[in-house]
C-alpha cells in the first residue's frame, strides 16, 4: 500500500531529528507517493566521503541527481533534508515533478537505513532551480523556478550549538543565491569546504556577495523571479515609481 503524502514527508523529515524543521513541504504536498522509479546511481567518489561528525553538508547538484546524492550520503550516516521549494506542476519550467517522484521512490531505501538521532544534516537543493535556458521563455509555461534564501536554512548559531564546525558543499559551482547563505556561515567562523572531484575536501573561501544582507534582497530576488530575456532575475521587478513590492500578505 503506498504511503500517504504525510507519511512520505515524515520519512524524509522524521520526528525527533532537529533538522526536520527545515525540510520544505511543498514538493511533498504535490508528490505522487506511489512512484517507485528511481534512476540508477553510482555513488562513485561519494563512497570515499565518509561521515564527518562535525559537518553539515549542502548538496547542490541538478535535478533528480540531488536526491540520489542525498540517499548516498544517507547511506554514510547523514540525515538528508530536502530543501526543494518549487512546486511540481504541469508544463513547468523546472522538472520538480521528477524530484518529487524520486523522493517518493527513494523513501523505501531511506526507510531501510537506521540513522542516529543526532545524524548530521545533508541539505538537498536542485542546482537547476533557476534555469534560464531559451526554452524557459515560452509563453504558457508554468514558471516554478525558485531560489534559496538565508531564512531557508539554520543559522550559524544553531549549527554551532549542534556541534557543527564546518559546512561542506557538494556542487559543480557555487550558485549566487547559495553564496548569500554560505557567506553568513563563513562570517560566523564556520569552516567552509568543498568536496572536489579529486575526492578531496578543499577549502572554500567565498567573496562577499552583491547586496549581501540588503533589506530588499529577498523581495528583489523573488519579485523578479520571472521570465527575463536577459537570462537573470528582474523581469517583473516592481518599478520603484509604481510602489514598493512585497509578497501578498
Amino acid at each position: 500500500m503506498p504511503l500517504s503524502r504525510e507519511e512520505l514527508y515524515e520519512l524524509w523529515a522524521p520526528p525527533g531529528s532537529p533538522w526536520s524543521l527545515w525540510a520544505k513541504p511543498v514538493l511533498f504536498a504535490n508528490a505522487r507517493p506511489d512512484s517507485t522509479k528511481l534512476a540508477p546511481f553510482e555513488a562513485g567518489h561519494l563512497e570515499t566521503f565518509g561521515y564527518l561528525r562535525d559537518a553539515a553538508i549542502v548538496v547542490d547538484v541538478p535535478g533528480v541527481r540531488s536526491v540520489l546524492v542525498g540517499l548516498a550520503l544517507a547511506q554514510n550516516g547523514y540525515r538528508p533534508v530536502p530543501l526543494y521549494n518549487g512546486a511540481a506542476a504541469p508544463s513547468s519550467l523546472i522538472n520538480m515533478g521528477a524530484i518529487a517522484d524520486a523522493l517518493a521512490a527513494g523513501a523505501a531505501r531511506l526507510q531501510r537505513m537506521a540513522h542516529q538521532p543526532d545524524a548530521r544534516p545533508a541539505f538537498l537543493l536542485n542546482a537547476d532551480r533557476m534555469d534560464h535556458s531559451a526554452g524557459a521563455m515560452a509563453p504558457g509555461r508554468f514558471d516554478n523556478r525558485w531560489c534559496v534564501v538565508p531564512q531557508d536554512m539554520p543559522s550559524a548559531t544553531f549549527l554551532k550549538s549542534a556541534g557543527i564546525n564546518q559546512v561542506v558543499l557538494i556542487a559543480e559551482s557555487l550558485a549566487d543565491d547559495l553564496a548569500h547563505v554560505l557567506y553568513r556561515y563563513q562570517e560566523a567562523k564556520l569552516e567552509l569546504r568543498r568536496f572536489a572531484k579529486t575526492n578531496a575536501l578543499e577549502p572554500l573561501n567565498i567573496p562577499r556577495p552583491n547586496a549581501y544582507k540588503a533589506a530588499w534582497y529577498r523581495a528583489a530576488v523573488f519579485a523578479g523571479l520571472r521570465r527575463n530575456a536577459a537570462g537573470g532575475f528582474g523581469g517583473i521587478t516592481p518599478d520603484p515609481g509604481d510602489g514598493i513590492g512585497g509578497v501578498g500578505g
Binding site: R5, E6, Y9, E10, P15, G16, L21, W22, K24, P25, V26, F28, A29, N85, G86, A87, A89, P90, S91, P139, G140, R141, F142, D143, N144, R145, W146, P150, Q151, P154, S155, T157, F158, A215, A219, F222, A223, L225, R226, R227, G235, I236, T237, P238, D239, P240, G241, D242, G243, I244, G245, G246, V247, G248, G249
Partner: protein, 415 residues
C-alpha cells in the same frame, strides 16, 4: 471602561494539548502551511488564541464598519484621479486607474483588517484590501485546533465564504483563474488551498501567473498550457502595484478594464495605500470607525519621526511588516537607509503615531498578537491570528488559531 478597552483584555493564549510534531505535520498538510520555518523559528505556534464572544462580535462589527467606509472611500476616490499621486501611486498605475471604469460594482471584495490589543483597547494597524492572505490560517487551522480545546469553536471560514460569493455571481459552475506569482511557494500554498476549496464547490480551477492572462474585449483568457481558455472569474494574489512590471505581450492594463469577475479588482490599490488617511478630508466621506481605530497618520514630511520614537515609518505599499520601523528599533545603518528613502521619496512612506501593543503572557515569554479579521463583500467571516516576540508582526510571526469561547450552556460538558 469602554467596550473597546474591555474587549482588548478579553483574550488569552493557551497551549494546545497536542503532540507538537504531529500537530505541525497536520498543519502543514491539512492547512496548507508550506512555509513552517523561517530561520531558526517555527512559524506554527503551539498555542491557540481564545477570545470571548463579546470580543469576536466587537472585532467583527468594527471590521464590517471599516469595510463599509472603505468601499465608500474607494468609490469617491476612483473619480478623483487628481488625488492618486498623493496616495503614492506611480504614473503608469495612475493612468491605468484613470482609464478604468471606476470600481466594478459586481466584483467580489475581500479585505483583512489587522487589530492589535493595546492597553487602551484594540488598535488597527492596516487593511489588506488588495491581496490579503491567511485564508487557511482562518479556516482549517482553527478547525484543527478546536479538536484540542474544549468549549471553544472556530468562527467563520473565509475560503468557503469567498467561494459562495463567487458562486452567487457565476452560478454553480465556471472557470476560475487563481493568479499568483508562481515562483513563490508561500503564495502558491494560498492559491492551491483556495483552488482546492473552489474545486470542491464545483468550479473548474486554473492556477496561473498574471502573464498567462490575455484579454479580448475585456474578457480574460488563460494561455497557460493545460489550463487555457476563457475564464469566468479571476481571484488575484498578485499585488496590483506589481502589475506594471508585466512584459508584453501580456497586457497588464487589461486587469484594470476587466469585464471578467474580479476578486479583488486592481482598483483596490487605492485603499491599499497607507496614505489613504491623508486624503480623507478631501473626499467628503464620513469615516468615524477609521478615525477612531487607526492611529494618527501623516506625510513623513509633517511628522517628527526623526527625533521622536513615538512615530513609526511604514512603506506606502509595504506588506508583512517589511520596512516598518521607528527610531531606535533597528540598526543605525538600516535606519539611515530608511531615513534617506523616506526623505527622497516621501510619497512612498507614511509616518504613523505608534501604539504600544500589549503583550500576552505565555510560558515562553510575552507574545504580541495580531488578529486579522476577514470581510467578504462587507461581512466579517473569520479571524487570522499571528504571534510575534516583538511588537512588529513580520515574517517570523507564528500562525496561531483564533477560537471563540462558547457560553457555558453550549459546551458539551457543561452541567
Amino acid at each position: 471602561m469602554d467596550v473597546a478597552s474591555r474587549t482588548a483584555l478579553d483574550v488569552q493564549l493557551v497551549v494546545l494539548p497536542a503532540d507538537p510534531e504531529e500537530y505541525r505535520r497536520r498543519v502543514i498538510f491539512q492547512c496548507f502551511k508550506w512555509d513552517p520555518q523561517c530561520d531558526d523559528v517555527s512559524t506554527i505556534s503551539d498555542q491557540a488564541c481564545l477570545i470571548s464572544p463579546t470580543t469576536a462580535a466587537y472585532l467583527s462589527e468594527q471590521a464590517e464598519s471599516l469595510s463599509s467606509e472603505l468601499l465608500q472611500l474607494e468609490r469617491v476616490l476612483s473619480l478623483r484621479p487628481d488625488l492618486f499621486a498623493a496616495l503614492g501611486v506611480g504614473s503608469r498605475l495612475r493612468s491605468a486607474l484613470a482609464g478604468a471604469d471606476g470600481i466594478v460594482d459586481n466584483s467580489v471584495r475581500v479585505m483583512r483588517f489587522d487589530f492589535h490589543p493595546t492597553s487602551g483597547g484594540w488598535a488597527l494597524s492596516e487593511v489588506n484590501s488588495d491581496v490579503p492572505g491567511g485564508f487557511a490560517e482562518a479556516g482549517p487551522l482553527p478547525q484543527l485546533a478546536a479538536i484540542y480545546v474544549m468549549g471553544a469553536k472556530p468562527s467563520g471560514d473565509p475560503a468557503a465564504t469567498l467561494a459562495t460569493a463567487v458562486e452567487r455571481r457565476l452560478g454553480k459552475s465556471g472557470r476560475v483563474a487563481f493568479v499568483h506569482a508562481t515562483s513563490y511557494s508561500d503564495d502558491r500554498q494560498v492559491m492551491q488551498y483556495l483552488a482546492d476549496r473552489f474545486s470542491h464547490q464545483g468550479f473548474d480551477c486554473a492556477l496561473v501567473a498574471p502573464d498567462h492572462i490575455r484579454w479580448r474585449e475585456g474578457r480574460a483568457f488563460s494561455i497557460a498550457e493545460a489550463q487555457s481558455g476563457k475564464m469566468d472569474a479571476i481571484v488575484r494574489y498578485f499585488p496590483a502595484d506589481w502589475l506594471p512590471g508585466l512584459s508584453p505581450p501580456a497586457n497588464w492594463r487589461g486587469f484594470f478594464q476587466s469585464r471578467t469577475l474580479m476578486c479583488n479588482p486592481p482598483q483596490a490599490l487605492l485603499s491599499q495605500s497607507k496614505r489613504l488617511p491623508l486624503v480623507w478630508d478631501q473626499l467628503g466621506v464620513s469615516v468615524p470607525t477609521w478615525a477612531a481605530l487607526l492611529p494618527e497618520t501623516r506625510d513623513p514630511r509633517e511628522a517628527p519621526w526623526r527625533t521622536d520614537s513615538n512615530w513609526v515609518l511604514k512603506p506606502t505599499f509595504g506588506r508583512v511588516g517589511d520596512g516598518v520601523a521607528w527610531m531606535g528599533a533597528i540598526g543605525d545603518k538600516q535606519w539611515l537607509q530608511m531615513t534617506r528613502d523616506a526623505t527622497s521619496s516621501p510619497r512612498q512612506w507614511i509616518a504613523q503615531r505608534r501604539f504600544e501593543s500589549r503583550p500576552l503572557s505565555t510560558l515562553s515569554g510575552p507574545r504580541h498578537l495580531c488578529v486579522g479579521v476577514f470581510t467578504i463583500d462587507g461581512r466579517a467571516c473569520g479571524f487570522y491570528g499571528r504571534l510575534s516576540t516583538g511588537s512588529i508582526i513580520e515574517k517570523h510571526a507564528q500562525d496561531v488559531p483564533v477560537l471563540v469561547l462558547q457560553p457555558l450552556a453550549d459546551t458539551p460538558n457543561a452541567s
